[in-house]
Symmetry: C2
Subunit: 439 residues, 2 copies
């Protein structure tokens, strides 16, 4: 069954890949219209999800997330589809153009990746966003959403499939909803047909998926972000940034978990007290290592444990430690960070440059909150997820992260054996061509 | 042991990453000088490898490959190091620059990947090339070369480590030679410290590595390349390209293995005979499917078997089959190709465009030999390997494929909670900045 699903999505990709931007973006307009026309029906099924959630005593915040009928959520979901349609075509952009010889031209051109398996949370509107991104980028997508929204996902994907089939050139198999966790498990072995897995969800989910597939996984398990307060930091600024990074949304993967304070700052009582007061007033519990614990009052401060440097609290807790030098801070962060986002607070450009060069994370920040690590804040229009991988897309991933590239070589009967190194004596020209050429 | 090796290489990376291009390229000049000064000693150890090879009755072609003393191989190996030193600095190139708000600027900057594990064949000169590429690109490298060259590899890596240690800022652990296959096996589980595995060698080796690691693998197991002779193909041109693609170097991964002939061409006897004669005269055995077998003489033609479409012959053999349409050719190639390089022979731009858009391989060629799929021929200066992956680097991989990127965010105490979506009402500017800025 999993093989059939994956194979069908892959066949659909072969067609989708050849469609023009007008055809792909046109399909998004059709989906927009289709969902709009069936709003009542969708909300009816959404009601079933909501009723089940109440019956199962789910938390009110989860129930609020499931509800598509309030706060203009339905309409902004629809607008989101049109926003994606409006983005520039990501396919076929020439990123390298080289004349190898007279009449033999090489072009590197952006192309979709293939089949994506995307696992996402129980937020009904996300299915519309991901569907739009997949079609716009020319990728087929197999979708698995959180089970609490299943009825809403099901009716929406039925409508999407019907619209694609009846009104567009996009094959309906380009978007496939699957129901169960078991199906996800089986699909993870379909590395012949699936090119990329994008899990959004708990650390446990992401880690579990990474352990169980040969398919590349784009995402992040942990978000262990650090802030280093350098000896030349401005303290007012630092307190503001630390408190925001910790408290703006503690459950976010871009919340700070590790506060490293240069020992010169820690030993300056006025400065240390400002940091302490800022965190205490914001309701943060400090897990302090022995070096710094003695310098702090007891209130809101507990002993850091063995794992403090590798802990993602996701709550109003933070590890606090002293650091002897900028170099030590870099080494410490590179060993413990999850390579998500790390920040230095300093007024010294020289020190900032060292930090920006030395830290091996997707995001390296100077004097600003780690909470900015987000596709929308970066201006990517939309975000598929945040990647802590070091190959392919890194950090917040927008449409560009769903693209690959291909080399096109256009000749006129050119053969290798006429060239040096392959038996002949012709020499390659290797001249740069205009990349804005219309291919 | 493997963990220590990987950890040391990773620590060395933290230093290497911060060095300037002058420091990295300067180290390459020191390595050049160091190897040059010890030429006699290196050739002495190379002689031991050669003697062992003779004793073990290795093939003369392998022995020729091992020999570093003839044909100017030693000197061109040294020149290669300086060529890499001369390449533009791949680190710190700004590829995106955006003003998020007054004083809050986002830059996407190229950065090395981290620690590479590179497994390569018994060619003594390759260790110099890979060492140069790794240091130039700011990546640490753990190297395992074919055992037949071990003595040569050992003395060369000893010299490299000594030079790095005594004369450069590059930590000596940035380049580490390992000896045994067992060590490779153990290193494949060090995904905490190793970021990318690059195996060069047999399909079996690559497949085996892919099966046994969670670390991303850059490379290709198979090279099943196809040529499709479209109904509007020029036959003389086609024969020339097919024969070159098959015979120029049949053991190459970019040699053609599959010849798909549009049935209108196959049913035109004059055209079919030209293809047949061309291949027969070049000594190629045609493995023909039943539809086309009846149209061909018996000489040099055998029955294709069940696996013919998924076979990489690596010899003077080729599968020959008829195809009903361009669409069928695209579908067929996308199902059977190893996504390396596939070519259409056609005089119709429209058909070529369909093929170039529809085929899902790293290289898509129009009217030229598949043998051009090569980093040197593409003008990349150097080549680490050819990737059939669809994420990260694809096709021939040069220095660029060894790079990742990072997002730098530079602010002045900016915090997220002042902005819309995070509790405040400030709005992001998202204005493009000059990417040529000196950071």
């Amino acid at each position: 069954m999993a093989e059939i699903i994956a194979k069908e999505a892959n066949s659909a990709f072969s067609v989708l890949k050849t469609l023009s931007d007008d055809e792909r973006s046109g399909a998004l307009h059709q989906i927009y219209q289709g969902l709009k026309d069936k709003k009542d029906e969708i909300l009816k099924f959404n009601k079933i999800d909501l009723d089940n959630a109440s019956k199962n005593n789910l938390s009110s915040s989860l129930i609020k997330r499931l509800d598509l009928s309030t706060g203009g959520k339905f309409d902004s979901m629809l607008e989101g589809i049109l926003d994606v349609a409006k983005l520039p075509d990501p396919i076929g952009k020439c990123t390298l153009a080289k004349k190898l010889d007279e009449g033999l031209n090489l072009y590197r051109v952006t192309a979709p990746i293939g089949v994506l398996l995307i696992i996402f949370e129980s937020r009904p509107e996300v299915i519309a966003n991901i569907t739009a991104l997949a079609i716009k980028s020319g990728n087929s997508a197999i979708l698995k959403g959180g089970k609490e929204s299943y009825q809403t996902f099901k009716i929406m994907s039925d409508i999407v499939n019907e619209v694609l089939n009846d009104k567009t050139k996009v094959p309906k198999d380009a978007i496939k909803l699957i129901e169960s966790r078991e199906e996800v498990g089986d699909l993870l072995s379909q590395d012949k047909y699936i090119d990329l897995v994008i899990p959004r969800g708990s650390n446990q989910l992401v880690r579990n998926i990474k352990e169980n597939t040969k398919i590349p996984v784009l995402g992040h398990a942990d978000g262990i972000c650090s802030i280093f307060v350098d000896e030349s930091a401005d303290i007012e600024k630092s307190v503001k940034v630390i408190v925001d990074s910790k408290t703006n949304y503690p459950a976010g993967c871009n919340a700070v978990e590790q506060l490293l304070i240069h020992e010169k700052v820690a030993n300056d009582d006025a400065k240390l007290q400002k940091i302490y007061q800022g965190l205490k007033n914001a309701g943060v519990t400090m897990h302090a290592t022995s070096e710094i614990k003695g310098l702090l009052p007891n209130e809101s401060v507990v002993d850091a444990d063995d794992k403090c440097f590798d802990t993602e609290y996701l709550s109003l807790d933070i590890t606090v430690a002293t650091i002897k030098s900028l170099g030590d801070a870099i080494t410490h962060i590179n060993s413990h960070s999850s390579k998500h986002t790390d920040c230095i607070m300093t007024e010294s450009k020289e020190n900032a440059d060292k930090f920006l060069k030395g830290i091996d994370s997707a995001g390296i920040y100077w004097n600003c909150s780690t909470r900015f690590a987000d596709g929308f804040r970066y201006g990517f229009g939309t975000e598929v997820g945040i990647s802590t991988n070091k190959i392919h897309a890194r950090g917040p991933v927008g449409l560009e992260g769903l693209m690959s590239y291909q080399y096109q070589l256009r000749g006129d009967g050119h053969i290798a054996s006429q060239y040096k190194g392959a038996g002949g004596d012709k020499v390659f020209v290797h001249e740069d061509l205009d990349m804005n050429v219309k291919l």
